[in-house]
């Protein structure tokens, strides 16, 4: 029978939640790296027991960990992230030029085919790659260097590269997203990049349809249709049917189109999930009701999923990397909150149960479906 392993990064450590394919009874292992901020953990699709983890601290900076046995044991790996050449400047909050400074790793994306290869999205925004299991890291400097970098500006959470999507049908194609710069695509394995933000409208910017400057919160893709992308922007839920060349808004009947997470059903490429958040001033669900919204039409038409979720007095947030799906026949959906709950649905969102209720604030949730 299949096993599901949920990798949870929190403000004060990591947790590994495991269950069989029924997803009813869960074992909670943790905290791992107790007291450290665990921004993200992710397993290699090519070797699922290889897991990479980003471990950081305001005191001690960035460290990295790797497990080769499914999280039972861990080894510190390389933590030297050095920008290529002269780092240059980006825009600061007040519009002045500010030098690029490495702060932390937000997201790790292991290669689809090679367990030794992994990408790291960092703050201040840049993309790094390791081909030796995390021992050493090299910047893919074409991203910062393609021309628009000096115009990038941090979002409220920092200038982070938080989304990395690898195209399973084209080894050279990759998408990334940065707050608050926008989305970018490479078609040559990270050598050259271009902004893919046409159709995005950000009214907080002097030029709302500018080439860069959009506060993209997260992007998702279905493996079977790598040219179709879904985006939760600061405001607006968007989709692209042409690999990011242009975007259309699909917020439709959502109660608010602000939010952080977005994900796609494992077997239904037009079934999407978001968690609407009231606004950028009030980072909690509208009306104190925690609701996942599902669209079975690729956007525009959304239904609230509420069964098992708190429908009063709930004022948590769901951060950008804190939703994931498993690939079991009945797709499981998982998300974590800043209140420390990790909710799971074993029926594509119809019913929810908390796996755990009282973890530290959840920063990230990833799921591995193991045979």
């Amino acid at each position: 029978m299949s096993t599901v392993r949920v990798l949870v990064g929190t403000r004060k450590g990591a947790f590994i939640l495991t269950s069989d394919g029924k997803r009813e009874d869960w074992t909670v292992n943790g905290p791992l790296f107790a007291g450290w901020e665990m921004y993200h953990l992710k397993g290699s699709p090519a070797e699922p027991n290889r897991i990479y983890a980003s471990q950081s601290s305001g005191w001690f900076g960035q460290t990295m960990q790797r497990s080769d046995d499914g999280g039972a044991s861990w080894t510190p790996v390389g933590n030297k992230f050095t920008y290529e050449g002269v780092p240059g400047t980006h825009q600061w909050y007040d519009g002045t030029a500010h030098p690029w400074e490495f702060k932390r790793v937000w997201h790790l994306e292991p290669s689809l085919t090679d367990p030794e290869t992994v990408y790291a999205g960092v703050e201040d925004a840049a993309l790094f790659k390791s081909t030796d299991g995390g021992a050493t890291w090299q910047e893919l400097a074409g991203l910062r260097g393609h021309g628009t970098g000096p115009r990038w500006q941090p979002g409220a959470g920092g200038m982070c590269l938080h989304t990395i999507i690898l195209d399973p049908s084209d080894a050279g194609r990759m998408y990334i997203a940065i707050s608050a710069a926008g989305a970018f695509r490479t078609d040559d394995g990270g050598v050259s990049w271009k902004p893919i933000n046409k159709g995005l409208v950000s009214n907080f910017m002097p030029e709302p349809t500018a080439e860069v400057g959009h506060c993209v919160h997260h992007v998702a893709m279905h493996r079977a249709r790598p040219g179709v992308l879904f985006m939760q922007k600061h405001w607006d839920v968007m989709r692209s049917d042409n690999a990011g060349e242009s975007w259309q808004e699909v917020s439709g009947n959502l109660p608010t189109d602000f939010g952080f997470v977005i994900d796609v059903h494992a077997h239904e490429p037009e079934t999407l999930y978001v968690v609407p958040i009231k606004s950028d001033s009030e980072h909690f669900p509208p009306e104190g009701k925690l609701r996942v919204y599902r669209s079975r039409t690729g956007g525009n038409e959304w239904e609230a999923l509420t069964k098992g979720l708190p429908q009063k007095d709930c004022y948590v947030n769901v951060l950008r990397d804190a939703m994931a799906v498993d690939s079991l026949e009945e797709c499981g959906v998982y998300f974590g909150t800043t209140g420390g709950q990790v909710y799971a649905s074993a029926d594509a969102g119809d019913h929810w149960k908390p796996i755990v209720r009282d973890l530290p604030a959840v920063l990230s949730v990833e799921v591995q479906t193991l045979e």
Binding site: F33, W59, G61, T63
Partner: protein
């Protein structure tokens, strides 16, 4: 570099867990014993600590860490200044402390 001596270092809790050490760390350090040489020896023996006490590249002490020896704050002394004899002779440790900061 002169003769090596055994220097004791006390790490903050989170770095002890990262380096998987209990209690003090004993390091062989060439005289004269300085903060730089102690950190070089520490990072040589425990490479996972690289970048956690001083920054890559600049070598700057991380902002929320402090160095103490013989009840004196050495955080702002030159890293090549000779530490007290009591540290070089192993009678006193070099203490690396995390600042009490945050909520």
């Amino acid at each position: 570099m002169g003769q090596s001596v055994s220097v004791r270092v006390i790490l903050p809790y989170h770095l002890r867990t990262l380096a998987r050490v209990d209690g003090e760390v004993a390091l062989e350090v060439g005289e004269p014993v300085t903060v730089r040489r102690v950190l070089d020896a520490l990072e040589g023996g425990y490479p996972m600590l690289c970048g956690t006490i001083r920054e890559y590249g600049t070598g700057q002490r991380r902002a929320f860490l402090r160095f103490f020896a013989c009840e004196e704050d050495w955080s702002h002394e030159a890293v090549d200044a000779e530490l007290p004899r009591a540290v070089a002779e192993g009678r006193e440790p070099l203490l690396i402390l995390g600042a009490i900061a945050g909520g």
